[in-house]
Amino acid sequence: MMELYNGPLDVKEIFGRWLDEEAESNYGAYIPFVGTIRAEGGIEALSFDIYVPVLRSWFDAWQARAKERGAIVKMAHAVGDVPVHSSSYIAAVFSPRRRVALELIEDFVEDFKANAPIWKYDVIDGRRIYAEDRSTPMEGAGLLADGQKSE
């Protein structure tokens, strides 16, 4: 399950609902990763754009990958402004066993960071500034520049 919210996440509601959803699924390990906006660089908030169709494909591919190991993944992310000290992101793994859960949460969160189609902006004095220095080209980036060179 993938959930998108306008503005900050209700972390307790999401954590508790996911726990309840899998209460009878016989998973031994539940690891959520909760991402919270840090106060730094004078920002009042971060803001996010998401391209939903590609995010959904990315998530579905991850769900299939988790399933191969007997696990499932869930995620929630904010769209728009998220004030400092509130949460923009929760990713979670449920797995029968601890080892698989620990491995998957790490890979899931890292791949999310590198390849989920989400753009981050600092919000300073009400202005939205693309967080270019913290952003990473997605897998396969440069395709159109390659096309040019190949002429």
Binding site: H77, F112, A116, W119, T136, P137, L143, G147
Partner: protein, 73 residues
């Protein structure tokens, strides 16, 4: 016509172009000064599927998305 959309921070309205493949689209985008600096860093989706082949043929009605560097979480 092919519709080209620029996602996230790229400040450019969608455009409609007549091209046969991504290579041809690439040449058109290189002509635009505001777009050119992005191209090396951007990934591409066609009809919401990420693509790897720079020669991918395009057909009328295709929708090309240009995805700049990401930072979720």
């Amino acid at each position: 016509m092919i519709r080209v959309e620029f996602l996230g921070p790229i400040a450019r309205e969608p455009m409609e172009v007549e091209v046969r493949d991504l290579a041809e689209l690439s040449r058109i985008l290189f002509e635009e000064e505001t777009i050119r600096p992005w191209l090396q860093k951007c990934a591409v989706a066609v009809n919401d599927v990420m693509v790897k082949d720079p020669k991918l043929p395009l057909k009328a009605g295709d929708r090309v998305s240009i995805l700049p560097p990401v930072c979720g979480g």
